[in-house]
């Protein structure tokens, strides 16, 4: 029942939030933060309860028939990947809620929408029924619109609309593809485990795979349909950026791993070349564009495009290392990018500008807040000691082995990502201290809490990558073995 509990916790918080009068904003924030803490605890429970060495691929399974005549069941369960992603969402949820402690505008609705988003994301990570998977997927996507359009900044309405339409266009590709899988199988069930046992004809798999891959790929920030993502990041408020880049984009990659690959292994094997090429474009091109951005958030936004490219590249290697690295990168990038946005948000909320050239020597005025950003930046450059290093390492190893050309290009992308990160650090955090920012307040212990949690996670997994890799090993092996 714990998986249901994970979905129900934010749901309960949502109802509670709707009941609390809007003026009582402290209570509303506390409810969300508390729900975040509870989900972290529950996710931790799942983590320990999950036995990576068991032969059962999906564990902690719950199943209730939902629409039996249509083969829909409320079917939850997690494999190692799901456990890791659930934990990621819980962490980002908690820290995101804490990061918005200073929010004053329309607090109640903000948290209501955020909780909706969180429910959707949890739902996707634990669903084993294709219908519910898609259901939660859509639930997760839509709240982004108001969250950006109301609480955002910088062309927020344009960004919100763009994001929604891109993502919905992705869903439009998914819709027919998922349904056709249901009918093609002839099993009259949306149970993904059962469906993955069915062998679809190779021609069919090859036909339908790109729909699903691209459909989910849009959300994963896949080149060339990533345009919504940086724009969205820039416009979104702090916690939304955190959830958006930290978790939501992972839904796309997760969808590919959970739906496209197990169900259509032959499709994956057929298409992995072209998609790996696109993923390489993601990595290199994203980094190059980031190099020319002056807005903090645009830099991070395009760095996310680049980093998600690593995830997609890893996935398309179809090897245990590649996919394991991709999954780990999903987790690591999620935490890292949450830290990024959290750090930027803190500065932006006070300075009201994000142009890196307007800053300078921030490390002098706000050393701790800067340290948070710098740490995230180091993590983004793939410096060892942080979780993302191992993830990238595995993906690169797999890529150089499997597709040397893409692998080498991707590794070279590391140089560019160092360039753009360092450029930001140099302009904004180093150099002569701009007296204009003398009055900036540095973080208090309370502000530091969410960021410190994120850093702790990054370092923990940076030093003991085995924690995560052992967890996902069997799942990834099963996944790669199926192809």
């Amino acid at each position: 029942m714990v998986l249901s509990a994970i979905i129900l916790t934010p749901l309960a918080a949502l109802f509670l939030t709707l009941l609390i009068p809007a003026r009582n904003d402290k209570a509303i924030k506390a409810v969300s933060a508390l729900a975040g803490a509870v989900t972290v605890a529950l996710a931790a429970y799942v983590w320990f309860k999950f036995d990576p060495y068991s032969t059962a691929r999906y564990q902690l399974v719950e199943r209730v028939e939902w629409v039996p005549t249509f083969g829909i069941s409320y079917y939850l369960g997690v494999d190692g990947i799901g456990v890791l992603m659930t934990m990621l969402n819980a962490i980002v949820f908690l820290t995101g809620a804490l990061s918005m402690w200073r929010l004053e505008l329309r607090v109640k609705e903000y948290f209501a929408f955020m909780l909706t988003l969180v429910i959707g994301v949890f739902g996707v990570f634990v669903s084993l029924d294709l219908f519910f998977f898609f259901f939660f997927y859509e639930v997760a996507v839509l709240p982004m619109y108001p969250l950006i359009a109301v609480w955002g900044s910088t062309r927020k309405e344009y960004a919100a609309m763009k994001l929604t339409l891109y993502l919905m266009a992705g869903s439009a590709l998914l819709f027919p593809a998922l349904l056709s899988i249901y009918y093609k199988s002839g099993l009259n069930t949306f149970d993904m485990v059962a469906l993955s046992g069915h062998k679809f004809s190779e021609a069919y798999q090859i036909f339908v795979y790109p729909f699903i891959y691209i459909g989910f790929g849009v959300l994963a920030g896949m080149f060339p349909v990533h345009g919504w993502s940086p724009t969205g990041h820039v416009a979104a408020p702090t916690a939304v950026s955190m959830l958006h880049a930290g978790v939501l984009m992972k839904l796309g990659a997760f969808g590919i791993l959970r739906v496209a690959m197990p169900l259509l292994p032959a499709g994956a094997a057929y298409w992995n070349g072209p998609f790996a090429a696109l993923a390489t474009c993601n990595i290199v091109y994203g980094a190059l564009v980031a190099l020319k951005q002056d807005d903090f958030k645009f830099v991070i936004g395009f760095s996310s495009v680049s980093h998600m490219g690593i995830v997609l590249l890893g996935i398309n290697m179809l090897t245990i290392d590649g996919m394991g690295g991709a999954v780990f990168q999903m987790f690591a990038h999620g935490v890292m990018t949450a830290l990024f946005f959290s750090a930027v948000g803190f500065i932006y909320d006070q300075a009201h500008t994000r142009d890196i050239h307007e800053f300078g020597g921030l490390s002098k005025h706000v050393p701790i807040a800067s340290a948070f950003f710098i740490i995230a930046g180091l993590c983004g450059m793939g410096v060892p000691g942080f979780a993302s290093f191992w993830a990238e390492l595995l993906v690169f190893i797999a890529a150089v082995k499997t597709m040397p050309l893409f692998g080498v290009l991707a590794v070279v992308g590391l140089i560019i990502s160092a360039l753009f990160m360092l450029r930001v650090l140099k302009h904004a955090f180093f150099g002569p201290a701009n007296p204009k920012w003398q009055g900036l307040r540095d973080v208090t212990a309370w502000d530091a809490l969410p960021r410190a949690i994120l850093i702790a996670v990054l370092i923990l997994f940076g030093f003991i990558p085995r924690l995560a890799l052992a967890l996902i090993a069997s799942s990834v092996r099963a996944l790669a073995g199926g192809i």
Binding site: G227, L291, K292, G324, P384, V408, I415, P465
Partner: protein
């Protein structure tokens, strides 16, 4: 304690110091410094203890670290002679320099941070040295780079420091990327990255020749980046923007030596790889001469030393490339001592006088610092390769190795570099210690601003290193035994030309700079073109900036334009087109009833035709 525990202590004690200084003791800088020095002491003690007890323990201690199916990466310590030696050197020099920093960094607002970063560096460097696994080594290699980045940018408010830090990181990363790819190729060729295992002849023999060469070249890229060899050397002189003790520790004695150390570590591989050693030698000889020529015309003392480091690192590679592990490692050891010493002396002058400019130092009475000046002379003599100081022996063995193995071109090149080394070193000594009234060198534009007096805590390390620089040359046999390589003992006859050349360099320097009333004008100024070429560092910075930087910037700009114009543009265009179509569609609702009915009827007729089958 078992040697495993000792290794753990040795490598990780500084991490405790780092954490303590950066997180816990941010507001107690003195305690932070003390903590780090204690940690370094512990490291040194542990390193020595490992050395002392090494006969009773297995050389490698392994535990599984990262495990993915195709990438079983173990974390462990390889405690063989080479590592023991390097560990002791690193710990000792780091300790000296931390003690030195107590005085040098006094009053700096970032005192605690400084020591914390030192701890970070020491942790990374020591862990790198003792790594049992190439990937583990790579991890710490990168962390060493990170620590270097943070320390170069320590005075981050100086734009030049921020720029130098960035440059260092990027340039070394270019090399690292090559090394990383090499590492992956190695892994996929042998399915192991265990260093001890890799170095076995059978493992190496199992790799196809062409691939082995490729791997060796890629690994060498990492060496080139980290040890600042041509063409990736330009970051090192800029790295002098960091505090001087940092330059002493990282950018001369230990960190930049990591590249050479790696080469030494993988010596069997480089030897086995066909054709690589020639490339190495060419690069090394180019670097040695290039750096030495630039050092001839510098006025900034730290820059002279920086170029000298580049040149000396190239010497080490010459030795290694010539096939002599002993020569390279030996020079690495001696260089660590005398170069650290020289930097600390430079730091003392800078501290006392407040300027990096050698001419200014001389005119402000640098010679009055007796102990420091003594250290400078000894260090310089060692660097120039004058007997019986440390550098003499190690350089001789490199030359001997070159003689033994390779074509004469390299030998003559090395002679040239030695001559230049002696020349620029003593140019430096004379500029600093023997200011001349007749000097044609103009005074520096801005006034020096001294930091304070040279304290006891600064003098002590100088004294220790002076002894080291003087005596380390006699440890050759010991080192050979430790690393298990054959020592080279050149005869005096073989040594004669080198000694002569070094002396010649010193003498030329004396006549031009050291004589009473010397004009202090180098012979190179007579060849204006060369002078300018050296002065401008062969225009390499400009070329890189224009060509590589410009190219990347161009591609990035194009990408950004593509993003805005093409990709975003397409999206927006699709949206706008849709909306425009919507307007047009809505206009079909013309308001004219008969058109409505007419079009409906028309369609019905069409459909009738269709279903009626007529």
């Amino acid at each position: 304690m078992s040697s495993g525990t000792l290794a753990l202590l040795c490598t990780h004690a500084p991490l405790v110091g780092c954490f303590g200084a950066l997180v816990v003791l941010r507001r107690a800088p003195r305690a932070a410094a003390a903590l780090n020095i204690l940690a370094m002491l512990a490291s040194l003690g542990a390193a020595l203890a490992i050395f002392a007890g090494s006969n009773h323990q297995p050389p490698t201690i392994i535990s599984l670290w990262l495990s993915s199916e195709g990438v079983p990466i173990s974390f462990g310590f390889l405690l063989d002679g080479t590592n023991q030696l390097m560990g002791i050197i690193v710990a000792l020099i780091a300790l000296c320099i931390q003690v030195y920093s107590l005085g040098y960094m006094k009053g700096d607002p970032g005192y605690a941070r400084y020591f914390g970063l030192h701890g970070l560096f020491a942790w990374a460097m020591l862990s790198f040295v003792y790594s049992a696994n190439l990937l583990q080594a790579f991890v710490f290699w990168e962390l060493v780079g990170l620590a270097s980045f943070l320390l170069i940018g320590f005075w981050f408010e100086k734009p030049s420091a921020a720029a130098a830090a960035k440059k260092a990181f990027v340039m070394t990363r270019i090399g690292d990327v090559g090394m990383f790819i090499g590492l992956i190729l190695l892994l996929s060729s042998t399915s192991t990255l265990d260093i001890a295992q890799l170095m076995q002849a059978s493992t190496l023999a199992s790799i196809p020749d062409a691939r082995l060469t490729l791997i060796a070249l890629l690994l060498f890229c990492g060496v080139v980046g980290k040890s600042a060899q041509f063409p990736l050397h330009t970051w090192l002189p800029d790295a002098m923007e960091g505090p001087t003790p940092v330059s002493a520790l990282l950018h001369s004695a230990t960190m930049v030596a990591a590249g050479v150390f790696l080469y030494a570590r993988f010596h069997p591989l480089f030897v086995a790889a066909e054709g690589v050693s020639n490339i190495v030698l060419v690069i090394a000889i180019i670097t040695a001469i290039l750096a030495a020529t630039i050092a001839m015309v510098q006025r900034d003392m730290k820059r002279v030393l920086a170029y000298s480091s580049i040149s000396q690192l190239a010497f080490m590679l010459l030795g290694l490339g010539a096939g002599s592990l002993y020569a390279g490692v030996f020079h690495l050891t001696t260089h660590a001592f005398f170069k650290a010493l020289l930097f600390l002396c430079a730091g003392a002058y800078i501290h006392q006088i407040g300027s990096n400019d050698m001419v200014t130092m001389g005119r402000q009475g640098a010679a009055k610092l007796r102990l420091v000046s003594a250290g400078l002379v000894i260090g310089a003599a060692a660097l120039a390769g004058l007997p019986p100081l440390a550098g003499f022996f190690s350089k001789e063995s490199i030359l001997a190795a070159l003689h033994g193995a390779h074509a004469n071109a390299f030998v003559y090149g090395a002679y040239l570099a030695s001559f230049l080394t002696a020349y620029y070193t003593f140019r430096m000594v004379f500029l600093v210690l023997r200011p001349s009234d007749k000097s044609v060198l103009p005074a520096e534009e801005h006034e020096p601003h001294p930091h304070g007096d040279v304290t006891g805590s600064m003098k002590l390390p100088i004294a220790i290193l002076t002894v080291g620089a003087a005596a380390a040359g006699f440890a050759g046999d010991f080192i050979a035994k430790l690393i298990g390589a054959k020592a080279l003992h050149p005869t005096y006859g073989e040594m004669a030309p080198a000694i002569g050349i070094a002396l010649a360099g010193v003498i030329v320097a004396f006549f031009e700079f050291g004589r009473k009333d010397a004009a202090q004008q180098g012979f190179i100024t007579r060849v204006g073109a060369l002078d300018t070429l050296f002065e401008r560092k062969y225009y390499l910075d400009e070329i890189y900036d224009k060509v590589a930087g410009g190219l990347v910037s161009l591609i990035a700009s194009v990408s950004a334009v593509v993003e805005r114009g093409v990709l975003d543009g397409t999206g927006d265009l699709a949206g706008n087109l849709t909306i425009a179509t919507g307007d047009a569609t809505a206009r079909m609702q013309s308001g004219r009833l008969q058109l409505y009915i007419g079009s409906a009827v028309l369609l019905i007729v069409v459909f009738c035709y269709f279903v009626g089958g007529y």
